[in-house]
Amino acid sequence: MRVSLFITCLVDQMFPDVGEAMVTTLRRLGVEVSFNDAQTCCGQVAFNTGYRPEARSMAEYFLSVFETDRADFIVAPSGSCTAMVRNFYSELFHGTDDRQWQDRLARVKPRLREFSEFIVNELGVEDVGASFAHRVTYHDACHLLRELGISDQPRRLIRSVRNVDLIEMEAADTCCGFGGTFSVKYGEISNAILQEKLTRIVNSGAEYVIANDSSCLMQIAGGLSRAGSSVKTLHLAELLAKQ
């Protein structure tokens, strides 16, 4: 099985440990991993902020990078970037002259998987051989849950980690308040939503909060750190890499 990594720009620049953990985990499962360093950013920030021509030029570039990739799957450590390509790129190519771009999208889209989705659905694996003797709770990232419909796979993977104690927090499926540029355009509202989430995380009694999106984790970690909490964040890939 050959996988080409789609390391999102946030992971590449801010949280490369997540990318490394992905490589470690996938290789442990016998997957052949490659990384095309021509890749940059999927354009979600521009798209979500209303800059469609800019988002489109980034989408075109993204497709030109991945369309020639001959890997079986393209795997990303983010539900939201995966959803950008799978669910929203087609909205950027709806003109009459855009047939060729729809075709090019069709060469990439069917192979694109989010990390936990790939391991459970494509490899058919739940126990990746990880071990972590801590209490953890899982936060459903919104786009992973509602754009891709993925909630079960990450939980199966977490439960199969040796010695881990998964405690469900109340309303795990509510937003952390990140929302891309919303988090800075309306920082006060974003933070008020975050505080609700933090209360639920802390009340769960978990030592670590796990999610599959570094953007949500950046928001949650930022709030926990500001509040002086001892609870830590961990991307699912980082958890699964632990032995």
Binding site: M14, C41, G50, A55, T174, G177, Y186, L194, G222, G223
Partner: protein, 470 residues
């Protein structure tokens, strides 16, 4: 129509600082969410039901001209009079002219978002006709001179204590301490209003094209009284409220109360076919005012058309993390929450409320809760794009930055280099492994509320090369 305070950031700040409001919002939205979940669990296949409702709405909206004409024919056959109103002013003028012609001095009104939308009460007052809101929540809002903060629970932002204070001050009959005392006090007042009013004005939840029936769903019974006690009944109905057949109602009457109040059925469902007594000399009259007020503009925009499917249940408000925090009044107009952020910029203008679509984390909880499966996040995204295209709320720095990002993203070497520079800059701000204070927006907007983690060592692309991860 102008906003009391055009700055959404300031309005939401006021709401977030208000501890009483925060408590009221949390209690109300938590309760509605819980009740809704219980109520929809009683339907064997909720998803199939809402998809069916969506299909009906889709079909009706795509053939709106046909069904509206059918509705008009049926209403007229019952002896009702129909008025097509292009604007809110047209609606007000028609009702005021009618009131003058019939010597109407006071009007009882039932809860109606359509009449809130056009500020009918102001127009009536200016014309010397006294409007009295008869829905308890609307009555409270009218006494307080406020705007509703929820589509179906207009006084959701008020606590019992605040309402007791308000009644004590305005009604001067002592302070009602229990909920029962509050309702009794309002009921006593309103009974007299019902008896003396010469006209009742309502909205409609549905208008059935096939039968010409106006359908009204409620719990208090005041709507039925508004339509049955005064001799003249005027229903102000947005043109999107029409549904084709009586049979279609069974779908919507299962969806609406469950989504709205979390009830399997409301206490009252009224079906009105024309005036109480159709004989021309009986003095009983029924008027249907079909209101456009921007709806045909939405209809013409294929991308946005599905925002007309809304049945005004309010479920998207209750589940919205933003609404839960800032409440309805912060949205600046009468339609709050996700559906408000979608229809306000269309019914008003992008210029007036084009900031609303940006005040969302795009979490998608609204789409899941919507009983007609309106793709609200998609509508918000489309409106964001429209706002940027038409240069509303122009932010040159943001535009330059986005163009810059798009350019850099097409050049991987430049992308790697600028990433390196940005991380080097960020590291200058790191204290104790995190950034607690940044001097410039947008970083500052982040660190005003949260810490920013320090970038983790070299980028992934550098590590892939250096560590020979290949």
């Amino acid at each position: 129509m102008t906003l009391p305070n055009p700055n959404l950031t300031q309005r939401s700040h006021t709401a977030l600082e208000n501890e009483v409001l925060q408590g009221a919002l949390k209690r109300a939205t938590d309760t509605f969410i819980e009740r809704r979940l219980e109520a929809i669990a009683s339907v064997a296949d909720w998803e199939a039901l809402r998809q069916r409702a969506r299909k009906v709405k889709e079909h009706t909206i795509n053939h709106l001209d046909y069904y509206l004409e059918q509705l008009v024919t049926a209403v007229e056959a019952h002896g009702g009079k129909v008025f097509w109103a292009r604007t809110g002013e047209d609606v007000s003028k028609y009702i005021i002219d009618l009131a003058r012609a019939r010597g109407v001095k006071s009007v009882v009104k039932s809860k109606s978002m359509a009449t809130e939308e056009i500020e009918l009460n102001h127009a009536l007052e200016a014309a010397g006709v006294r409007p009295v809101e008869t829905d308890l929540g609307e009555y409270i809002i009218q006494l307080a001179h406020e705007k509703p903060s929820h589509i179906i629970v207009p006084a959701i932002h008020k606590t019992r204590a605040q309402i007791a204070d308000l009644f004590e001050e305005k009604l001067r009959e002592g302070r009602p301490n229990e909920v029962a005392e509050i309702t009794a006090m309002a009921r006593k007042r309103l009974r007299n209003e019902f008896l003396s009013a010469e006209m009742g004005i309502t909205g409609a939840n549905f208008a059935i094209a096939e039968t010409g029936s106006i359908v009204l769903v409620e719990n208090e019974g005041n709507i039925r009284l508004s339509t049955q006690v005064p001799k003249i009944h005027v229903a102000v109905v947005g043109i999107e409220k029409v549904i084709p057949r009586f049979d279609d109602l069974s779908v919507f009457l299962r969806l609406l109360p469950r989504s709205g109040t979390g009830q399997k059925q409301t206490a009252y469902v009224s079906f009105l076919n024309g005036a109480r007594q159709p004989k021309p000399d009986s003095g009983f009259e029924f008027h249907l005012v079909l209101m456009d007020n921007g709806r045909t503009r939405i209809l013409a925009d294929e991308q946005m058309r599905e925002s007309l499917y809304c049945i005004r249940c309010g479920a998207c408000l209750n589940v919205c993390p933003v609404y839960q925090k800032i409440g309805g009044q912060a949205y600046g107009w009468i339609y709050p929450g996700p559906i408000g952020a979608v229809i306000s910029p269309q019914l008003q203008s992008l210029k007036q409320s084009g900031d609303l679509p940006f005040a969302s984390s795009l979490c998608g909880a609204c789409r899941d809760a919507c009983p007609v499966a309106i793709n609200l996040p998609d509508m918000l995204l489309a409106l964001r794009a429209k706002a940027k295209e038409s240069d509303i709320g122009r932010k040159p720095a943001e535009q330059v930055a986005m163009r810059g990002v798009a350019f850099v993203a097409r050049h991987p070497k430049l992308f790697a280099l600028s990433g390196k520079l940005m991380r080097a800059f960020a590291r200058l701000l790191v204290r104790d492994g995190k950034i607690q204070r940044a001097p410039l927006s947008p970083l500052k907007d982040w660190t005003d509320y949260r810490d920013l983690p320090a970038p983790q060592g070299p980028s992934f692309r550098q590590r892939w090369k250096q560590k020979d991860m290949k």
